[in-house]
C-alpha cells in the first residue's frame, strides 16, 4: 500500500498533475475513479493510526492521568493503589496496544471526572458542535463567495482593495476576540441578542419535553411548533455563527478572488471575449463557475480549522458543544477524557476529509490523477 502513497499525497495539491499515473490510466481505460476512491479509502487508516498514536504518546509523556488529576490531593499509597487498579503501572507499550484495541472496537475510553464513555460525550455534545459549524460554514460561504467575486470583477479598484483588507482583517482577528466584541456591542450595549448559551431556560425546558430530541436545536424547535422557541434558538445562534463564519469567510473570499482572476485570464475566456461576449457575461457564465470547484476541496481543509474555531467560539459563547466540554475536561485536568475526545475528533476529521475528497473527485476529474 505504501507504494501508492506518493501519488495520493501529490493529488491533494490541486495543481500538481503527475504524468505517469495518467499514462497508466490511459492504458487501463476505465476504473480510474474506482481505484482512486479505493486507495483514498485505504489511506484513512494510516492517517488515523498516526494521529491516535501521536495523541497517546503525547498525553502519556507527562505521566499517568490519575497523578495528573489527583496528585497532591491523595496520600501516595492510595494514589499508587488507584494507578494499579486502572492499569497505568503496566508497561507503556502494553497500555498502548490495549488502547489501540479499544479504538478498533469503538471504545475511546471513559472520562475520569464523570466516568462516562467518551463516545457518549460525543453523542450528547456532538450535535451542538455540528449545528454551530454548519451555521458558520453557511455564513462563510454566503459572505465569502459573493464578496470574492466582487473583488475579482473590480480588480485593483476600490472594492477590491476594501475586500482584500477585509479578508486579511477577518484572518487577523482571533475568533474569540471577534466573539467578545460582538457580545459587547450587540448583547451588552445594544441588548439585541442574548449573551451566551444555545437557548434561554424556558426554551430549553420546552425542547427537553420532546420525545426523541435530535439535539439539533433548530430542528427540535421547529418540531415543538412554537414560533417563539424557534425565534429564541435562532437568536442565540446568530452571534456565534457570525463570529466563526466571518473568520472563515476571509479564506473563501481570497480563494474565490484568486480563482476568478485566474479563469478570467485563461484561454477559453479570452476566446469568448474575442467573440464579443460582454465582460459581465464572461464573469457570470464563463469565469465564475469553474472558479468555484476548488472551494469544495478547500472546504475539506476548513473542517479542521472550523473545529479549532468551534472550540474557541463555544468557550466564548458558552455553547455547550464538544469544544466547550473539552475545555471543561482540560480545566479539570481530566486527561483521559481529553485524549479520548481528541482521538475521536481525529477519526472524524479523517473520515470527513475522505468524504470531501470523494465529492471533489466526482465533480472535478482533474483531482483523480
Amino acid at each position: 500500500m505504501t507504494a501508492t502513497t506518493p501519488e495520493l499525497a501529490d493529488s491533494s495539491q490541486p495543481d500538481s498533475s503527475a504524468p505517469s499515473p495518467s499514462a497508466r490510466q490511459h492504458r487501463r481505460g476505465g476504473g480510474r475513479l474506482g481505484s482512486y476512491l479505493f486507495i483514498r479509502f485505504l489511506l484513512i487508516f494510516p492517517t488515523i493510526f498516526i494521529l491516535v498514536t501521536t495523541v497517546f504518546f503525547l498525553m502519556r509523556s507527562t505521566g499517568d492521568p490519575i497523578t495528573a488529576a489527583q496528585g497532591g490531593r491523595l496520600p501516595p499509597d492510595q494514589l499508587a493503589e488507584r494507578i494499579h487498579q486502572a492499569g497505568y503501572d503496566r508497561p507503556l507499550f502494553a497500555q498502548y496496544l490495549d488502547y489501540l484495541g479499544g479504538i478498533v472496537h469503538g471504545d475511546f475510553g471513559r472520562t475520569f471526572s464523570d466516568n462516562r464513555p467518551v463516545l457518549d460525550v460525543l453523542k450528547t455534545y456532538g450535535t451542538a458542535t455540528l449545528e454551530l459549524t454548519f451555521y458558520a460554514l453557511l455564513v462563510a460561504l454566503l459572505v465569502g463567495i459573493p464578496l470574492g467575486r466582487l473583488a475579482a470583477a473590480r480588480r485593483d479598484r476600490i472594492p477590491d482593495a476594501a475586500m482584500r483588507v477585509l479578508a486579511i482583517l477577518f484572518y487577523a482577528t482571533p475568533v474569540f476576540f471577534l466573539g467578545l466584541l460582538f457580545k459587547l456591542v450587540f448583547s451588552t450595549w445594544l441588548g439585541w441578542l442574548p449573551v451566551a448559551g444555545r437557548a434561554s431556560t424556558g426554551a430549553e425546558i420546552q425542547l427537553s419535553t420532546l420525545n426523541h430530541p435530535t439535539g439539533l436545536y433548530l430542528v427540535d424547535a421547529i418540531r415543538t411548533g412554537d414560533p417563539a422557541v424557534v425565534r429564541d434558538v435562532l437568536q442565540h445562534a446568530i452571534l456565534p455563527a457570525l463570529a466563526l463564519g466571518l473568520v472563515t469567510a476571509g479564506i473563501f473570499l481570497r480563494l474565490v478572488r484568486t480563482n476568478v482572476i485566474g479563469t478570467l485570464g485563461s484561454g477559453y475566456v479570452e476566446a469568448a471575449r474575442s467573440r464579443g461576449v460582454s465582460e459581465r457575461r464572461l464573469l457570470r457564465k464563463h469565469a465564475y463557475r469553474p472558479a468555484l470547484i476548488p472551494i469544495i476541496t478547500v472546504i475539506g481543509l476548513q473542517i479542521a480549522l472550523l473545529l479549532s474555531g468551534a472550540v474557541l467560539t463555544e468557550t466564548t459563547f458558552e455553547w455547550k458543544g464538544l469544544g466547550f466540554q473539552l475545555v471543561q475536561y482540560l480545566q479539570n485536568r481530566d486527561f483521559v477524557a481529553v485524549q479520548g475526545m481528541v482521538a475521536l475528533l481525529a477519526v472524524i476529521v479523517a473520515i470527513t476529509n475522505f468524504v470531501v475528497d470523494v465529492v471533489a473527485a466526482l465533480i472535478d476529474p482533474r483531482v483523480r490523477y
Partner: protein
C-alpha cells in the same frame, strides 16, 4: 574542482556589481522596490506595524508605566476594573493589573514565541523536506503520510496536547512560551516540508544538478549548494504565515486557560480569557486593548506575507501602468515580466529580475 559548478546556476552578474546591489535582492527589500499602488501600500503598512511591534517588545520596560505583574504603587493598590483615567490610561483588569502595561509587555511574550517557533519549524521543516525530496525512498513516503496526517488535524487540538505534554498544563513564562512555540512548530513543519519537498523534487531533475553529480560533487554539497538555494523561493511567505499563526495559537492557548500566569509574564490571550465575564457587564477596556494588540500584530505580518505572495505571482501582481493605459504601454510592460520601464532608477531597477530568468 567542485567550485566550477557554481557559476552556471543562476548568477550571470559580475561579482562586484552583485555585491553592490545585493541588499536590493533581499526578500522584502526587493519586493518593496517592485511593488506599486495598493500593493505597496499594503506592504508598507505591514512593515510599519511589524516594526512598531518589534520596537515595543524591545523597549517595553521604558514604554510601560508599570510592571506586568504590578498590583500596587506608592499610593496603594490599583484596584480592580478601574475605568481608563490619568493614572491608568487604559484602565485596570479584573485582577487589578494595569491594562496598558500588560498590553505592552505582551509584545515580549509574543515575540519570544514567534522567534522560537520560526527558528524551530524552519530548521526542521526545511531539513526534512530537503532530505525527503532529495533521497526519496521509503523515508520519503512515510514522511509524506505523517505530514499529511498532521496537516489535516485541527492545529489547536494538537497545540493543546503539546501544551499538556510540554508543561503539564503548568504555566511558567518559559514553559508557556515553549509550549506555544513547539505546538506551532509541530503544526508548521508539514507546511515547510511540503513546499520544500515539492521544489526539491522538481530541482533534482534539472540538468545543473546532474552536471554537479557528474563532476563528482557529494550529496551534501549538491543538497546545500545546488538544491536548497534554489528551493527557498516561497519560504518568506510561509515564514510570515508562521509568525501570524504563532501569535494566534499563543493567544488561543492563553484563552483556553493554558496562559502564562499574570505574575510570570503578560499574555494577551490570558487577559482576554479573564475579560470574558467583564464584557457582559459592559467593561470594555479589559478586552478591547489586548485584542486589538493581537489583531494589529497579526495584521502586520499578514499584510507583509500577502504582499510578498502577490508580488511573487505574476498573475496577481499589479503592474505599473504606462501613462495612458493604452496598448503600446502594455506591450512595453510585457517585454519585461513584472517590471516596468518607469521604475525609479530606470532600467537599473530591472536588473535583479533579469538575473533570475
Amino acid at each position: 574542482m567542485a567550485t566550477a559548478t557554481d557559476a552556471p546556476v543562476s548568477e550571470p552578474v559580475p561579482a562586484p556589481a552583485r555585491r553592490r546591489r545585493s541588499w536590493r535582492r533581499l526578500p522584502v527589500v526587493h519586493q518593496l522596490r517592485q511593488s506599486v499602488g495598493l500593493q505597496r501600500g499594503m506592504l508598507v503598512t505591514g512593515l510599519v506595524l511589524t516594526a512598531i511591534f518589534v520596537l515595543t517588545a524591545i523597549f517595553a520596560p521604558l514604554l510601560a508605566p508599570y510592571g506586568f505583574g504590578q498590583l500596587r504603587d506608592a499610593d496603594g493598590l490599583f484596584g480592580a476594573q478601574q475605568s481608563p483615567s490619568g493614572g491608568h490610561l487604559l484602565g485596570t483588569t479584573v485582577g487589578g493589573y494595569d491594562v496598558l502595561s500588560r498590553t505592552i509587555y505582551g509584545t515580549r511574550t509574543a515575540l519570544a514565541v514567534i522567534v522560537v517557533a520560526v527558528v524551530l519549524s524552519l530548521t526542521i521543516g526545511v531539513l526534512l523536506g530537503l532530505v525527503s525530496g532529495y533521497f526519496g525512498g521509503w523515508l520519503d513516503r512515510v514522511l509524506v503520510v505523517v505530514c499529511d496526517a498532521v496537516y489535516a488535524f485541527p492545529s489547536l487540538l494538537l497545540a493543546i496536547l503539546m501544551g499538556i505534554a510540554i508543561s503539564g498544563g503548568q504555566s511558567s513564562l518559559w514553559g508557556g512560551i515553549l509550549a506555544a512555540a513547539i505546538s506551532i512548530t509541530v503544526v508548521f513543519i508539514p507546511q515547510y516540508f511540503r513546499v520544500v519537498r515539492a521544489e526539491v523534487v522538481r530541482i533534482k531533475a534539472e540538468p545543473f544538478v546532474e552536471s554537479a553529480r557528474v563532476i563528482g560533487a557529494g550529496h551534501r554539497r549538491i543538497m546545500g549548494r545546488h538544491v536548497l538555494r534554489n528551493a527557498t523561493r516561497t519560504l518568506p511567505l510561509i515564514v510570515t504565515l508562521n509568525m501570524s499563526e504563532a501569535i494566534l495559537t499563543l493567544a488561543a492557548l492563553g484563552f483556553l486557560g493554558f496562559g502564562i500566569q499574570p505574575t510570570s509574564g503578560a499574555e494577551w490571550g490570558f487577559d482576554l480569557n479573564k475579560s470574558l465575564a467583564d464584557v457582559t457587564s459592559g467593561i470594555w477596556w479589559t478586552a478591547v486593548f489586548p485584542g486589538a494588540a493581537i489583531v494589529l500584530t497579526v495584521l502586520g505580518f499578514t499584510l507583509v506575507g500577502e504582499s510578498l505572495n502577490d508580488l511573487a505571482d505574476p498573475r496577481l501582481r499589479t503592474r505599473r501602468r504606462a501613462p495612458d493605459q493604452e496598448p503600446e504601454g502594455l506591450a512595453e510592460v510585457a517585454v519585461v515580466p513584472g517590471g516596468a520601464l518607469t521604475a525609479p532608477g530606470g532600467l537599473r531597477g530591472l536588473e535583479p529580475l533579469g538575473g533570475e530568468q
